[in-house]
Amino acid sequence: MNNDLKKMRPIWFFVGMMLLTIGIIVLLSGVYYLFFPSNAHTVLAHLHPSLWWGFIIFLAGIIFLVSNRNVTVD
């Protein structure tokens, strides 16, 4: 029997990876536009939603990843 088949990662691990990566991209774009404001003006831009929303996504990604780092399913 192939041992690999016993080591399937749960979906929550992939959700964590996806959210972590997207969170980092959104957060970094928020930091970038904080110093080099975009020409594309958006309503409520002064609240810098990319910064805090990106951080929330990043945090969610970390939680999913850490809580499933050693979890495998049959």
Partner: protein, 553 residues
């Protein structure tokens, strides 16, 4: 309108999504060893996985755009689609119907019809479901290309072919499991990608209290204006909401549509299968906090000339579906725009994957194995599932091009749903709970229900009869007509099935054991604590539903 310009970070997020879903398809391929893995995801999912997939299969981008637009048009009444129009049916499926479905080890909803009634009823439903699924899949593809073309200026052909090829690749590789994985990723992308629209909208207006104080009174209630249809935005009475939406359309969809029910079949045991729709009900109740709030914000902004916000218009007609993309463009800076677009793309693609994975199962088991090749081996059925996936995608593409040249096909979407699902619910209800319903009664009842639903749609569309005759009120909307048409189709199917069953041959009790209430052993939960029992969790969901309806009465 000028198209939304995407920056490097936006393209990075979109590209990442495509890499992820294709990577997941490749990763899961080695775990897809037989037909059970391909069509039923190995029947090993937890209630949480199956539950989120159950909800996400329904939470497509077409639904999000449409319901935000509907809120702009009809107000708070749209929340009925998520509350009374979904939750009771989901709980009923989990508590009462799932034991019959899951315990009979069927692979599809038409498979249950074969066991309970006969082959002809199964093939009739499978054929109708197959046609409906491919039509919806194609229209979904067309709607995606339309949104991407209108708001981002993307090329029609490239949008449709790239997304269709991606879905074909990961569903062909690992079947239902990859469809379920991408549906769960879509769930999180939708919440993280679109809920921010509602948050920023409420911040701009001032507060949630301010939102409700600035919309017309008829747009801010759920029930208090339902006695007289002229008093509410949807022009519908409480009777239409309860009978048409809350009972027939809702139960017809959530308890019989294989697209969603298939996710529960993938659960690892009966308890998980029963919990699947019950857990999903909590998340379903939360969706109005995206679509209804965003729709109300769009309504308020459009009434305020200084806001500079206006929905798109085409040929003098307001395009209500443009509300959500316009709000994304209003609030999201570069980086977040990519996330918003990815959430919509994920919604479209996961919706298509859901339709295709349901289609390949019904085609393979209920049409190919049942009618064309009864002796097909397991390996042959697995190959057929993969071929059906690619064929289904190609037919969806043809449908999408057809829809592009014939845009009014969108008007027929509701008709398609009430054509298949509304009468099927009458057949299922009678089949599961009344043992003397006969195979011939079910077949002719289903045929009469489907025929009457379609005829009523055409009769109203081409003004052969007055719409008010169907809605039983002097004023009504298209939505009200949809609710009432579903009710009449259900009632006709219900009555014809009973009458014909009185005069035709029944199946014996032995043949119906495990399929009908009264001939099936009661479910024993064993030593599970009460707070983990499906019935208890369903009660909590029901209490929250009642509280929400009272709060927004």
């Amino acid at each position: 309108m000028p198209t939304i310009q995407l920056g490097f970070a936006d393209w990075l997020v979109i590209g990442l999504y495509f890499v992820f879903v294709l990577g997941i398809g490749l990763y899961l391929k080695k775990y897809t060893r037989n037909e059970n893995d391909f069509f039923l995801a190995g029947r090993k999912n937890s209630a949480w996985v199956a539950g989120l997939a159950f909800l996400s299969a329904n939470l497509g981008a077409l639904e999000l755009l449409g319901m935000t637009g509907n809120t702009f048009q009809y107000g708070m009444y749209v929340a009925h689609f998520y509350w009374i129009g979904a939750i009771p049916a989901m709980l009923f499926l989990g508590v009462y119907m799932m034991p019959f479905y899951y315990s009979s080890r069927i692979k599809s909803v038409p498979g249950y019809l074969k066991l309970r009634f006969d082959e002809k009823t199964r093939v009739l439903n499978a054929a109708a479901f197959g046609v409906m699924t491919l039509l919806v899949s194609g229209i979904n593809l067309y709607a995606m290309a339309l949104v991407l073309h209108t708001f981002l200026g993307w090329n029609w052909d490239v949008s449709m072919w790239v997304s269709a090829a991606t879905v074909a690749a990961y569903v062909t590789l690992s079947g239902l499991m990859s469809a379920i994985f991408t549906e769960i990723i879509q769930f999180f992308l939708i919440w993280f990608g679109l809920f921010l629209v509602s948050i920023l909208g409420v911040i701009e207006i001032g507060s949630i209290h301010e939102v409700f104080s600035r919309i017309p009174p008829a747009y801010g209630t759920l029930w208090s204006t339902s006695a007289n249809p002229a008093d509410n935005g949807m022009l519908v009475t409480w009777g239409g909401v309860v009978l048409g939406l809350g009972f027939v359309l809702s139960f017809g969809y959530w308890t019989t549509d294989f697209l969603v029910v298939q996710r529960a079949f993938s659960a690892k045991n009966l308890r998980s299968a029963r919990l699947t729709p019950i857990l999903a009900s909590f998340f379903k109740m939360a969706v109005p906090f995206i679509v209804v709030v965003a729709g109300l914000v769009a309504l308020i902004l459009s009434q305020d000339k200084q806001s500079g916000f206006a929905l798109l218009q085409e040929g003098g007609q307001v395009k209500y579906d443009s509300a959500l993309p316009l709000l994304i463009a209003r609030y999201y800076p570069p980086g977040l725009i990519g996330l918003g677009v990815t959430a919509l793309l994920a919604g479209f693609m996961a919706g298509q994957a859901g339709n295709i994975s349901a289609f390949n199962t019904v085609w393979t088991y209920d049409i190919y194995q049942s009618v064309i090749n009864k002796k097909a081996s397991e390996a042959h059925l697995l190959r057929m599932g993969r071929v059906a996936t690619i064929a289904g995608i190609l037919i969806s593409l043809v449908t999408a091009y057809w829809a592009k040249s014939f845009p009014s096909i969108m008007d027929y979407m509701q008709a398609i749903f009430s054509w298949v699902n509304a009468p099927l619910f009458a057949t299922m209800l009678l089949g599961m709970f009344v043992k003397w319903i006969t195979p011939n009664g079910a077949f002719w009842g289903l045929l009469a229900g489907m025929g009457s639903s379609f005829t009523l749609f055409l009769a109203v569309k081409f003004e052969w009869v007055e719409r008010n005759l169907i809605t039983l009120s002097s004023v009504s909307s298209d939505m009200a007509a949809n609710f009432w048409r579903a009710w009449w189709a259900w009632l006709i199917c219900f009555a014809v099935t009973i009458v014909i069953s009185l005069f035709t041959e029944r199946k014996s009790d032995a043949e119906l054991t495990g399929l009908v209430k009264g001939l099936t052993p009661e479910v024993k939960e064993g030593d599970v604590p009460i707070y983990l029992k499906p019935g208890f969790i369903a009660c909590i969901s029901l209490i929250i539903l009642v509280a929400l309806n009272i709060y927004f009465w």
